[in-house]
Protein backbone atom coordinates (compact mmCIF):
# COMPACT_ATOMS: atom_id res chain seq x y z
CA UNK A 1 0.00 0.00 0.00
CA UNK A 2 2.76 2.42 1.04
CA UNK A 3 4.73 1.71 -2.10
CA UNK A 4 1.71 2.40 -4.23
CA UNK A 5 1.12 5.68 -2.42
CA UNK A 6 4.77 6.60 -2.92
CA UNK A 7 4.59 5.98 -6.68
CA UNK A 8 1.27 7.86 -6.83
CA UNK A 9 2.76 10.76 -4.87
CA UNK A 10 5.76 10.92 -7.19
CA UNK A 11 3.42 10.87 -10.18
CA UNK A 12 1.45 13.84 -8.81
CA UNK A 13 4.67 15.68 -7.94
CA UNK A 14 6.07 15.22 -11.44
CA UNK A 15 2.78 16.18 -13.04
CA UNK A 16 2.71 19.36 -10.98
CA UNK A 17 6.31 20.06 -12.00
CA UNK A 18 5.46 19.53 -15.67
CA UNK A 19 2.71 22.15 -15.47
CA UNK A 20 4.33 24.64 -13.10
CA UNK A 21 7.97 24.63 -14.16
CA UNK A 22 9.15 25.86 -17.52
CA UNK A 23 10.38 29.02 -19.16
CA UNK A 24 8.61 32.23 -18.20
CA UNK A 25 5.95 32.99 -20.77
CA UNK A 26 7.17 36.31 -22.08
CA UNK A 27 5.49 35.95 -25.44
CA UNK A 28 7.09 36.15 -28.83
CA UNK A 29 10.60 37.67 -28.57
CA UNK A 30 9.90 39.66 -31.69
CA UNK A 31 6.94 41.29 -29.94
CA UNK A 32 9.25 42.25 -27.08
CA UNK A 33 11.62 43.84 -29.53
CA UNK A 34 8.73 45.49 -31.32
CA UNK A 35 7.38 47.13 -28.17
CA UNK A 36 10.60 48.92 -27.32
CA UNK A 37 10.93 52.66 -27.53
CA UNK A 38 10.64 53.72 -31.13
CA UNK A 39 11.12 57.42 -30.68
CA UNK A 40 14.90 57.33 -31.22
CA UNK A 41 15.94 57.50 -34.86
CA UNK A 42 17.07 54.10 -35.95
CA UNK A 43 18.06 52.65 -39.25
CA UNK A 44 15.09 50.75 -40.56
CA UNK A 45 15.83 47.92 -42.96
CA UNK A 46 13.43 45.60 -44.74
CA UNK A 47 14.27 42.36 -46.49
CA UNK A 48 11.65 40.69 -48.64
CA UNK A 49 11.60 37.89 -51.13
CA UNK A 50 8.54 38.80 -53.18
CA UNK A 51 8.56 35.70 -55.35
CA UNK A 52 5.97 32.93 -55.22
CA UNK A 53 6.09 29.44 -53.71
CA UNK A 54 7.51 26.44 -55.54
CA UNK A 55 4.15 25.02 -56.56
CA UNK A 56 3.28 28.01 -58.73
CA UNK A 57 3.92 28.05 -62.48
CA UNK A 58 5.79 31.36 -62.15
CA UNK A 59 7.83 31.53 -58.94
CA UNK A 60 9.36 34.95 -59.62
CA UNK A 61 7.71 38.25 -58.70
CA UNK A 62 4.34 38.87 -60.32
CA UNK A 63 4.09 42.42 -61.64
CA UNK A 64 0.48 42.70 -60.53
CA UNK A 65 1.68 42.41 -56.90
CA UNK A 66 4.02 45.38 -57.15
CA UNK A 67 1.45 48.07 -56.20
CA UNK A 68 0.72 46.21 -52.97
CA UNK A 69 4.46 45.70 -52.36
CA UNK A 70 5.05 49.42 -52.87
CA UNK A 71 2.17 50.29 -50.57
CA UNK A 72 3.60 48.10 -47.81
CA UNK A 73 7.06 49.60 -48.21
CA UNK A 74 5.65 53.12 -48.05
CA UNK A 75 3.54 52.35 -44.98
CA UNK A 76 6.53 50.90 -43.09
CA UNK A 77 8.88 53.62 -44.31
CA UNK A 78 12.17 51.67 -44.23
CA UNK A 79 15.42 53.54 -44.87
CA UNK A 80 16.52 50.74 -47.18
CA UNK A 81 14.98 47.63 -48.68
CA UNK A 82 16.55 44.42 -49.95
CA UNK A 83 14.34 42.70 -52.51
CA UNK A 84 14.77 39.21 -53.90
CA UNK A 85 13.31 37.35 -56.89
CA UNK A 86 12.50 40.20 -59.24
CA UNK A 87 12.37 39.13 -62.87
CA UNK A 88 14.73 41.96 -63.86
CA UNK A 89 15.37 45.65 -64.30
CA UNK A 90 11.89 46.28 -65.75
CA UNK A 91 10.10 45.20 -62.58
CA UNK A 92 12.45 47.32 -60.51
CA UNK A 93 11.56 50.37 -62.60
CA UNK A 94 7.85 49.70 -62.06
CA UNK A 95 8.42 49.32 -58.33
CA UNK A 96 10.47 52.53 -58.09
CA UNK A 97 7.73 54.40 -59.92
CA UNK A 98 5.08 52.96 -57.59
CA UNK A 99 7.21 54.13 -54.66
CA UNK A 100 6.56 57.67 -55.89
CA UNK A 101 10.20 58.54 -56.42
CA UNK A 102 11.01 58.12 -52.72
CA UNK A 103 13.74 55.53 -53.26
CA UNK A 104 16.86 55.07 -55.33
CA UNK A 105 17.31 51.51 -56.50
CA UNK A 106 19.36 49.12 -58.57
CA UNK A 107 19.12 45.47 -59.47
CA UNK A 108 21.95 42.98 -59.74
CA UNK A 109 23.00 41.40 -63.02
CA UNK A 110 20.91 38.43 -63.94
CA UNK A 111 23.89 36.21 -64.76
CA UNK A 112 22.91 32.63 -65.43
CA UNK A 113 19.87 32.90 -63.14
CA UNK A 114 16.33 33.84 -64.14
CA UNK A 115 15.76 36.22 -61.22
CA UNK A 116 17.58 39.12 -59.60
CA UNK A 117 18.01 40.82 -56.27
CA UNK A 118 17.72 44.56 -55.79
CA UNK A 119 18.47 47.22 -53.20
CA UNK A 120 16.40 50.31 -52.58
CA UNK A 121 17.69 53.26 -50.57
CA UNK A 122 15.36 55.99 -49.37
CA UNK A 123 16.07 59.47 -50.66
CA UNK A 124 17.00 61.79 -47.81
CA UNK A 125 15.40 65.24 -47.85
CA UNK A 126 17.90 67.92 -48.81
CA UNK A 127 20.50 65.38 -49.93
CA UNK A 128 21.48 65.03 -53.50
CA UNK A 129 24.19 62.39 -53.11
CA UNK A 130 23.23 59.18 -54.87
CA UNK A 131 23.99 55.79 -53.37
CA UNK A 132 26.72 53.88 -55.17
CA UNK A 133 25.34 50.63 -56.56
CA UNK A 134 27.46 47.59 -57.24
CA UNK A 135 27.14 44.09 -58.57
CA UNK A 136 28.75 41.42 -56.45
CA UNK A 137 29.71 38.21 -58.19
CA UNK A 138 29.59 35.34 -55.71
CA UNK A 139 30.00 31.82 -57.09
CA UNK A 140 27.67 31.57 -60.10
CA UNK A 141 25.25 34.24 -58.89
CA UNK A 142 25.07 37.98 -58.43
CA UNK A 143 24.09 39.99 -55.38
CA UNK A 144 23.36 43.70 -55.39
CA UNK A 145 24.96 46.23 -53.07
CA UNK A 146 24.38 49.89 -52.31
CA UNK A 147 26.87 52.12 -50.51
CA UNK A 148 25.39 55.23 -48.97
CA UNK A 149 25.61 57.56 -46.01
CA UNK A 150 22.55 57.44 -43.78
CA UNK A 151 23.54 60.28 -41.49
CA UNK A 152 26.37 62.73 -41.91
CA UNK A 153 28.09 61.54 -38.69
CA UNK A 154 27.80 57.80 -39.22
CA UNK A 155 30.18 55.79 -41.39
CA UNK A 156 29.01 54.72 -44.80
CA UNK A 157 26.64 51.79 -44.95
CA UNK A 158 27.03 48.99 -47.46
CA UNK A 159 23.78 47.08 -47.88
CA UNK A 160 23.86 43.80 -49.74
CA UNK A 161 20.75 42.05 -51.02
CA UNK A 162 21.43 38.38 -51.72
CA UNK A 163 19.57 35.24 -52.62
CA UNK A 164 21.27 31.89 -52.05
CA UNK A 165 20.50 28.71 -53.96
CA UNK A 166 17.28 27.03 -52.89
CA UNK A 167 18.26 23.51 -53.84
CA UNK A 168 21.93 22.91 -53.04
CA UNK A 169 23.48 23.44 -49.61
CA UNK A 170 26.92 23.08 -51.13
CA UNK A 171 26.23 25.89 -53.62
CA UNK A 172 24.84 28.04 -50.79
CA UNK A 173 28.05 27.52 -48.86
CA UNK A 174 30.25 28.54 -51.79
CA UNK A 175 28.03 31.56 -52.49
CA UNK A 176 28.20 32.76 -48.88
CA UNK A 177 31.96 32.23 -48.64
CA UNK A 178 32.48 34.42 -51.71
CA UNK A 179 30.06 37.03 -50.41
CA UNK A 180 32.02 37.15 -47.15
CA UNK A 181 35.26 37.46 -49.11
CA UNK A 182 33.81 40.46 -50.94
CA UNK A 183 32.75 42.16 -47.69
CA UNK A 184 36.18 41.55 -46.17
CA UNK A 185 37.95 43.23 -49.04
CA UNK A 186 35.40 45.70 -50.36
CA UNK A 187 33.86 47.28 -47.29
CA UNK A 188 36.74 48.27 -45.01
CA UNK A 189 35.80 51.11 -42.64
CA UNK A 190 32.14 50.85 -43.62
CA UNK A 191 29.14 49.37 -41.85
CA UNK A 192 28.09 46.29 -43.77
CA UNK A 193 24.59 44.83 -43.69
CA UNK A 194 23.53 41.67 -45.47
CA UNK A 195 19.80 41.19 -46.02
CA UNK A 196 19.14 37.96 -47.76
CA UNK A 197 17.01 34.95 -48.48
CA UNK A 198 19.63 32.33 -47.65
CA UNK A 199 17.33 29.33 -48.01
CA UNK A 200 18.72 27.50 -44.99
CA UNK A 201 17.52 26.83 -41.49
CA UNK A 202 19.61 26.16 -38.43
CA UNK A 203 16.83 25.93 -35.89
CA UNK A 204 17.09 23.57 -32.92
CA UNK A 205 13.36 22.90 -33.35
CA UNK A 206 13.83 21.05 -36.63
CA UNK A 207 15.26 17.61 -36.05
CA UNK A 208 14.25 15.69 -39.11
CA UNK A 209 17.61 13.97 -39.53
CA UNK A 210 20.44 12.90 -37.26
CA UNK A 211 23.17 14.19 -39.54
CA UNK A 212 23.34 15.10 -43.20
CA UNK A 213 25.94 16.71 -45.38
CA UNK A 214 23.38 19.37 -46.33
CA UNK A 215 22.79 20.30 -42.67
CA UNK A 216 26.56 20.39 -42.26
CA UNK A 217 27.07 22.75 -45.23
CA UNK A 218 24.37 25.10 -43.95
CA UNK A 219 25.90 25.00 -40.49
CA UNK A 220 29.24 26.00 -42.05
CA UNK A 221 27.57 28.83 -43.99
CA UNK A 222 25.88 30.21 -40.89
CA UNK A 223 29.05 29.87 -38.78
CA UNK A 224 31.05 31.68 -41.49
CA UNK A 225 28.58 34.56 -41.46
CA UNK A 226 28.65 34.74 -37.66
CA UNK A 227 32.44 35.05 -37.71
CA UNK A 228 32.04 38.55 -39.15
CA UNK A 229 28.44 39.51 -38.42
CA UNK A 230 25.67 39.16 -35.91
CA UNK A 231 22.27 37.74 -36.78
CA UNK A 232 20.08 40.78 -36.09
CA UNK A 233 16.70 39.09 -36.55
CA UNK A 234 17.40 35.94 -34.54
CA UNK A 235 14.33 36.30 -32.35
CA UNK A 236 11.91 37.32 -35.07
CA UNK A 237 10.74 33.79 -35.90
CA UNK A 238 9.70 32.17 -39.15
CA UNK A 239 9.97 34.25 -42.31
CA UNK A 240 8.52 31.80 -44.81
CA UNK A 241 5.76 29.23 -45.08
CA UNK A 242 6.10 25.93 -43.20
CA UNK A 243 7.47 27.85 -40.20
CA UNK A 244 10.89 28.29 -41.80
CA UNK A 245 13.32 31.04 -40.83
CA UNK A 246 15.27 31.38 -44.05
CA UNK A 247 15.49 35.16 -44.45
CA UNK A 248 18.19 36.89 -42.46
CA UNK A 249 19.59 40.31 -41.75
CA UNK A 250 23.20 40.33 -40.64
CA UNK A 251 24.96 43.39 -39.32
CA UNK A 252 28.21 44.26 -37.59
CA UNK A 253 28.66 42.81 -34.11
CA UNK A 254 28.52 46.36 -32.70
CA UNK A 255 24.97 46.80 -34.01
CA UNK A 256 21.87 45.63 -32.22
CA UNK A 257 18.30 45.24 -33.34
CA UNK A 258 15.94 47.42 -31.34
CA UNK A 259 13.10 45.83 -33.24
CA UNK A 260 13.01 42.74 -35.41
CA UNK A 261 9.67 41.75 -36.78
CA UNK A 262 8.29 39.51 -39.47
CA UNK A 263 5.23 41.21 -40.97
CA UNK A 264 3.15 38.04 -41.18
CA UNK A 265 -0.02 39.57 -42.54
CA UNK A 266 1.81 41.19 -45.42
CA UNK A 267 2.22 38.38 -47.97
CA UNK A 268 0.52 39.18 -51.24
CA UNK A 269 -0.92 36.65 -53.69
CA UNK A 270 0.87 33.33 -53.29
CA UNK A 271 4.12 34.69 -51.92
CA UNK A 272 5.89 32.18 -49.67
CA UNK A 273 7.91 34.75 -47.68
CA UNK A 274 6.95 37.56 -45.37
CA UNK A 275 8.84 40.85 -45.13
CA UNK A 276 11.43 41.03 -42.38
CA UNK A 277 11.75 44.46 -40.79
CA UNK A 278 14.61 45.37 -38.49
CA UNK A 279 15.39 48.64 -36.71
CA UNK A 280 19.08 48.88 -36.04
CA UNK A 281 21.03 50.82 -33.45
CA UNK A 282 24.59 51.27 -34.60
Amino acid sequence: MWWKLLVGGLFVLMLTGAFCLGPARGGDPSDELGRQDQTARRFRLMSWNIGYGNLESETRTHSEDLPAVAELIISNDPDAVAIQELTGEDQLKILLALLKDRYHGAAASIGSSDRVTAVLVKKQPGKTAMPRFENIRAADKFASAATFRWTSQAPEIVLISAHADAFSASRRRTFIAELIDWTRHGTKGKTTLIAADLNFEVSTQKQSHLFTDNAKHDSESYATLLNDFSDLARGAGATAVNARRIDYIFGPSTASAARAEVLRDAAIGRMDHWPLLVEIDF
Binding site: F11, L15, L21, P23, R173, S203, T204, Q205, K216, A223
Partner: protein, 283 residues
Protein backbone atom coordinates in the same frame (compact mmCIF):
# COMPACT_ATOMS: atom_id res chain seq x y z
CA UNK B 1 11.28 -5.49 -1.16
CA UNK B 2 15.04 -5.39 -0.62
CA UNK B 3 15.29 -9.20 -0.82
CA UNK B 4 13.17 -9.17 -3.97
CA UNK B 5 15.42 -6.48 -5.45
CA UNK B 6 18.47 -8.58 -4.64
CA UNK B 7 16.94 -11.57 -6.45
CA UNK B 8 16.13 -9.46 -9.47
CA UNK B 9 19.64 -8.01 -9.57
CA UNK B 10 21.10 -11.49 -9.43
CA UNK B 11 18.85 -12.55 -12.32
CA UNK B 12 19.95 -9.50 -14.34
CA UNK B 13 23.64 -10.15 -13.78
CA UNK B 14 23.26 -13.79 -14.76
CA UNK B 15 21.34 -13.08 -17.95
CA UNK B 16 23.15 -13.14 -21.28
CA UNK B 17 21.12 -10.16 -22.52
CA UNK B 18 22.80 -7.98 -19.89
CA UNK B 19 26.26 -8.63 -21.33
CA UNK B 20 24.98 -8.57 -24.89
CA UNK B 21 23.73 -5.00 -24.43
CA UNK B 22 27.18 -3.79 -23.33
CA UNK B 23 28.92 -5.74 -26.10
CA UNK B 24 26.57 -4.27 -28.72
CA UNK B 25 27.19 -0.73 -27.46
CA UNK B 26 30.96 -1.35 -27.53
CA UNK B 27 30.61 -2.53 -31.14
CA UNK B 28 28.66 0.64 -31.96
CA UNK B 29 31.46 2.76 -30.50
CA UNK B 30 33.98 0.97 -32.76
CA UNK B 31 31.73 1.57 -35.76
CA UNK B 32 31.45 5.26 -34.80
CA UNK B 33 35.21 5.48 -34.39
CA UNK B 34 35.73 4.20 -37.91
CA UNK B 35 33.03 6.53 -39.30
CA UNK B 36 34.25 9.57 -37.40
CA UNK B 37 37.90 8.91 -38.20
CA UNK B 38 37.31 8.52 -41.94
CA UNK B 39 34.96 11.56 -41.99
CA UNK B 40 37.51 13.69 -40.13
CA UNK B 41 40.28 12.56 -42.49
CA UNK B 42 38.18 13.46 -45.50
CA UNK B 43 37.11 16.84 -44.10
CA UNK B 44 40.57 17.97 -43.02
CA UNK B 45 42.43 16.76 -46.11
CA UNK B 46 43.59 19.11 -48.87
CA UNK B 47 40.73 18.23 -51.21
CA UNK B 48 38.07 19.54 -48.81
CA UNK B 49 39.99 22.79 -48.44
CA UNK B 50 39.97 23.27 -52.20
CA UNK B 51 36.22 22.85 -52.42
CA UNK B 52 35.22 25.22 -49.61
CA UNK B 53 37.13 28.25 -48.39
CA UNK B 54 35.90 28.42 -44.83
CA UNK B 55 35.26 25.64 -42.39
CA UNK B 56 35.16 25.16 -38.66
CA UNK B 57 36.16 21.56 -39.14
CA UNK B 58 39.80 21.44 -38.25
CA UNK B 59 42.11 19.15 -36.33
CA UNK B 60 41.07 20.91 -33.12
CA UNK B 61 37.35 20.54 -33.90
CA UNK B 62 37.64 16.79 -34.38
CA UNK B 63 38.60 15.75 -30.88
CA UNK B 64 37.56 13.03 -28.47
CA UNK B 65 34.79 15.11 -26.93
CA UNK B 66 33.23 15.88 -30.32
CA UNK B 67 33.46 12.17 -31.09
CA UNK B 68 31.72 11.29 -27.80
CA UNK B 69 29.01 13.87 -28.47
CA UNK B 70 28.23 12.61 -31.97
CA UNK B 71 28.35 8.98 -30.88
CA UNK B 72 26.08 9.60 -27.89
CA UNK B 73 23.49 11.59 -29.80
CA UNK B 74 23.35 9.09 -32.67
CA UNK B 75 23.09 6.08 -30.32
CA UNK B 76 20.66 7.59 -27.86
CA UNK B 77 17.64 7.73 -30.13
CA UNK B 78 17.87 4.43 -31.94
CA UNK B 79 20.39 2.05 -30.36
CA UNK B 80 20.28 2.34 -26.56
CA UNK B 81 16.44 2.27 -26.34
CA UNK B 82 16.43 -1.17 -27.98
CA UNK B 83 18.40 -2.70 -25.09
CA UNK B 84 16.39 -0.84 -22.48
CA UNK B 85 13.14 -2.07 -24.03
CA UNK B 86 14.46 -5.63 -24.38
CA UNK B 87 15.21 -5.73 -20.67
CA UNK B 88 12.09 -3.93 -19.45
CA UNK B 89 9.71 -5.74 -21.81
CA UNK B 90 10.85 -9.15 -20.70
CA UNK B 91 10.68 -8.52 -16.95
CA UNK B 92 7.10 -9.61 -16.14
CA UNK B 93 6.10 -11.18 -19.46
CA UNK B 94 9.32 -13.21 -19.44
CA UNK B 95 8.51 -14.63 -16.01
CA UNK B 96 4.99 -15.42 -17.18
CA UNK B 97 6.25 -17.08 -20.34
CA UNK B 98 8.67 -19.29 -18.41
CA UNK B 99 6.00 -20.11 -15.82
CA UNK B 100 7.83 -18.63 -12.82
CA UNK B 101 5.56 -15.62 -12.28
CA UNK B 102 2.82 -17.66 -10.62
CA UNK B 103 5.37 -19.15 -8.25
CA UNK B 104 6.73 -15.68 -7.39
CA UNK B 105 3.26 -14.43 -6.62
CA UNK B 106 2.44 -17.21 -4.15
CA UNK B 107 5.49 -16.27 -2.08
CA UNK B 108 4.95 -13.78 0.79
CA UNK B 109 5.87 -10.77 -1.29
CA UNK B 110 3.40 -8.17 -2.53
CA UNK B 111 2.74 -7.75 -6.21
CA UNK B 112 3.66 -4.06 -5.87
CA UNK B 113 7.10 -5.11 -4.61
CA UNK B 114 7.53 -7.43 -7.59
CA UNK B 115 6.74 -4.70 -10.14
CA UNK B 116 8.79 -2.07 -8.33
CA UNK B 117 11.84 -4.26 -7.83
CA UNK B 118 11.74 -5.28 -11.48
CA UNK B 119 11.46 -1.65 -12.57
CA UNK B 120 14.30 -0.63 -10.25
CA UNK B 121 16.49 -3.29 -11.85
CA UNK B 122 15.57 -1.89 -15.27
CA UNK B 123 16.49 1.60 -14.01
CA UNK B 124 19.87 0.36 -12.76
CA UNK B 125 20.53 -1.39 -16.06
CA UNK B 126 19.55 1.74 -17.98
CA UNK B 127 21.89 3.93 -15.97
CA UNK B 128 24.72 1.42 -16.33
CA UNK B 129 24.18 1.37 -20.11
CA UNK B 130 24.33 5.17 -20.31
CA UNK B 131 27.31 5.47 -17.98
CA UNK B 132 29.18 2.67 -19.77
CA UNK B 133 28.47 4.12 -23.20
CA UNK B 134 29.55 7.63 -22.23
CA UNK B 135 32.67 6.44 -20.39
CA UNK B 136 33.68 4.19 -23.29
CA UNK B 137 33.21 6.98 -25.82
CA UNK B 138 35.26 9.40 -23.76
CA UNK B 139 37.98 6.80 -23.25
CA UNK B 140 38.12 5.84 -26.93
CA UNK B 141 38.00 9.52 -27.87
CA UNK B 142 40.89 10.32 -25.54
CA UNK B 143 43.02 7.38 -26.67
CA UNK B 144 42.44 7.49 -30.41
CA UNK B 145 41.56 11.10 -31.20
CA UNK B 146 42.79 13.26 -28.31
CA UNK B 147 40.97 15.83 -26.22
CA UNK B 148 40.20 19.49 -26.59
CA UNK B 149 37.28 21.78 -25.97
CA UNK B 150 33.82 20.87 -27.21
CA UNK B 151 32.95 23.16 -30.11
CA UNK B 152 29.28 23.35 -31.01
CA UNK B 153 27.76 24.78 -34.17
CA UNK B 154 24.13 25.17 -35.22
CA UNK B 155 22.89 22.70 -37.78
CA UNK B 156 24.06 19.11 -37.81
CA UNK B 157 23.00 17.96 -34.33
CA UNK B 158 20.30 20.63 -33.84
CA UNK B 159 21.79 21.27 -30.44
CA UNK B 160 22.51 25.01 -30.50
CA UNK B 161 21.21 28.08 -32.32
CA UNK B 162 24.55 29.84 -32.40
CA UNK B 163 28.17 28.69 -32.22
CA UNK B 164 29.45 27.99 -28.74
CA UNK B 165 32.24 26.26 -26.88
CA UNK B 166 32.34 24.19 -23.70
CA UNK B 167 35.81 24.01 -22.21
CA UNK B 168 37.31 20.54 -21.81
CA UNK B 169 36.89 20.01 -18.06
CA UNK B 170 33.40 21.49 -18.04
CA UNK B 171 32.48 19.31 -21.03
CA UNK B 172 33.52 16.16 -19.15
CA UNK B 173 31.20 17.20 -16.32
CA UNK B 174 28.42 17.78 -18.86
CA UNK B 175 28.83 14.22 -20.11
CA UNK B 176 28.56 13.05 -16.52
CA UNK B 177 25.28 14.98 -16.17
CA UNK B 178 24.14 13.47 -19.48
CA UNK B 179 24.46 9.98 -18.00
CA UNK B 180 21.71 10.91 -15.50
CA UNK B 181 19.50 12.99 -17.80
CA UNK B 182 19.81 10.34 -20.52
CA UNK B 183 18.94 7.52 -18.16
CA UNK B 184 15.92 9.48 -16.86
CA UNK B 185 14.68 10.06 -20.41
CA UNK B 186 15.15 6.38 -21.30
CA UNK B 187 13.10 5.34 -18.28
CA UNK B 188 10.02 6.66 -20.10
CA UNK B 189 10.48 3.97 -22.77
CA UNK B 190 11.28 1.48 -20.01
CA UNK B 191 7.99 2.36 -18.27
CA UNK B 192 6.05 1.83 -21.51
CA UNK B 193 7.79 -1.56 -21.95
CA UNK B 194 7.04 -2.41 -18.32
CA UNK B 195 3.35 -1.70 -18.86
CA UNK B 196 3.25 -3.85 -22.00
CA UNK B 197 5.14 -6.54 -20.12
CA UNK B 198 2.29 -6.61 -17.59
CA UNK B 199 -0.37 -6.52 -20.30
CA UNK B 200 1.05 -9.17 -22.62
CA UNK B 201 2.05 -12.70 -21.76
CA UNK B 202 4.76 -12.94 -24.37
CA UNK B 203 7.95 -10.87 -23.89
CA UNK B 204 8.50 -10.65 -27.65
CA UNK B 205 5.08 -9.01 -28.05
CA UNK B 206 5.82 -6.57 -25.21
CA UNK B 207 9.20 -5.59 -26.70
CA UNK B 208 7.86 -5.33 -30.27
CA UNK B 209 4.84 -3.27 -29.17
CA UNK B 210 7.03 -0.85 -27.20
CA UNK B 211 9.50 -0.44 -30.04
CA UNK B 212 6.63 0.07 -32.47
CA UNK B 213 5.13 2.83 -30.31
CA UNK B 214 8.52 4.44 -29.68
CA UNK B 215 9.69 4.38 -33.29
CA UNK B 216 6.33 5.52 -34.65
CA UNK B 217 6.23 8.53 -32.35
CA UNK B 218 9.94 9.24 -32.92
CA UNK B 219 9.54 9.25 -36.71
CA UNK B 220 6.15 10.96 -36.82
CA UNK B 221 7.46 13.66 -34.47
CA UNK B 222 10.14 14.49 -37.01
CA UNK B 223 7.84 14.79 -40.01
CA UNK B 224 6.72 18.35 -40.44
CA UNK B 225 3.15 17.30 -41.32
CA UNK B 226 2.72 16.58 -37.61
CA UNK B 227 4.44 19.66 -36.22
CA UNK B 228 1.40 20.53 -34.11
CA UNK B 229 1.17 17.03 -32.63
CA UNK B 230 4.83 16.44 -31.84
CA UNK B 231 4.90 18.47 -28.56
CA UNK B 232 2.46 15.88 -27.13
CA UNK B 233 4.67 12.87 -27.88
CA UNK B 234 6.81 11.49 -25.08
CA UNK B 235 9.64 11.11 -27.60
CA UNK B 236 9.71 14.91 -27.89
CA UNK B 237 9.90 15.34 -24.10
CA UNK B 238 12.70 12.77 -23.97
CA UNK B 239 14.95 15.13 -25.96
CA UNK B 240 15.46 17.23 -22.81
CA UNK B 241 18.46 15.09 -21.88
CA UNK B 242 20.60 16.86 -24.53
CA UNK B 243 20.15 20.25 -22.85
CA UNK B 244 23.04 19.50 -20.48
CA UNK B 245 25.32 19.44 -23.53
CA UNK B 246 24.47 23.02 -24.51
CA UNK B 247 26.89 25.83 -23.58
CA UNK B 248 24.16 27.43 -21.45
CA UNK B 249 21.84 24.84 -19.90
CA UNK B 250 18.24 26.10 -20.24
CA UNK B 251 17.32 25.04 -16.71
CA UNK B 252 13.68 26.14 -16.80
CA UNK B 253 12.73 24.03 -19.82
CA UNK B 254 15.11 21.26 -18.69
CA UNK B 255 13.28 20.94 -15.37
CA UNK B 256 9.89 21.08 -17.02
CA UNK B 257 10.72 18.37 -19.55
CA UNK B 258 12.37 16.23 -16.88
CA UNK B 259 9.23 16.53 -14.75
CA UNK B 260 7.06 15.63 -17.76
CA UNK B 261 9.19 12.53 -18.31
CA UNK B 262 8.85 11.80 -14.58
CA UNK B 263 5.06 12.06 -14.88
CA UNK B 264 5.15 9.51 -17.72
CA UNK B 265 7.45 7.22 -15.75
CA UNK B 266 5.48 7.20 -12.49
CA UNK B 267 2.09 7.37 -14.19
CA UNK B 268 2.83 4.32 -16.33
CA UNK B 269 4.43 2.55 -13.38
CA UNK B 270 1.34 3.17 -11.25
CA UNK B 271 -0.87 1.87 -14.04
CA UNK B 272 1.33 -1.24 -14.35
CA UNK B 273 1.03 -1.85 -10.60
CA UNK B 274 -2.75 -1.45 -10.61
CA UNK B 275 -3.17 -3.79 -13.58
CA UNK B 276 -0.70 -6.34 -12.20
CA UNK B 277 -2.46 -6.42 -8.83
CA UNK B 278 -5.71 -7.36 -10.56
CA UNK B 279 -4.14 -9.71 -13.05
CA UNK B 280 -5.23 -13.33 -13.00
CA UNK B 281 -2.08 -15.40 -13.43
CA UNK B 282 -3.26 -18.75 -14.67
CA UNK B 283 -0.18 -20.48 -16.04
Amino acid sequence: MITQLRFELRKLIRSKGFYLSFAALAAFVLLMLWGFYSYAQQKTSGLAGEQFKYTYESKSYFNGLTFALYSLIFAFSLVIPIFVVMNAGSQIAGEQRSGTLRMMCIRPVSRVAIVLSKFLVVAIHTYLLMAFFIALNLLVGLLFIGWGSLELYPGPLNLVDQPGTILRDEAVWRFFYASFSGAWALLVVAAVANLFSVLFENPVTAVAATLAVYLTLYIVGRIEFFITLSPYFFTTNMDFWRDVLKPEIPWASFNQQAATCGAYIFGLLLLSIVIFERKDITN
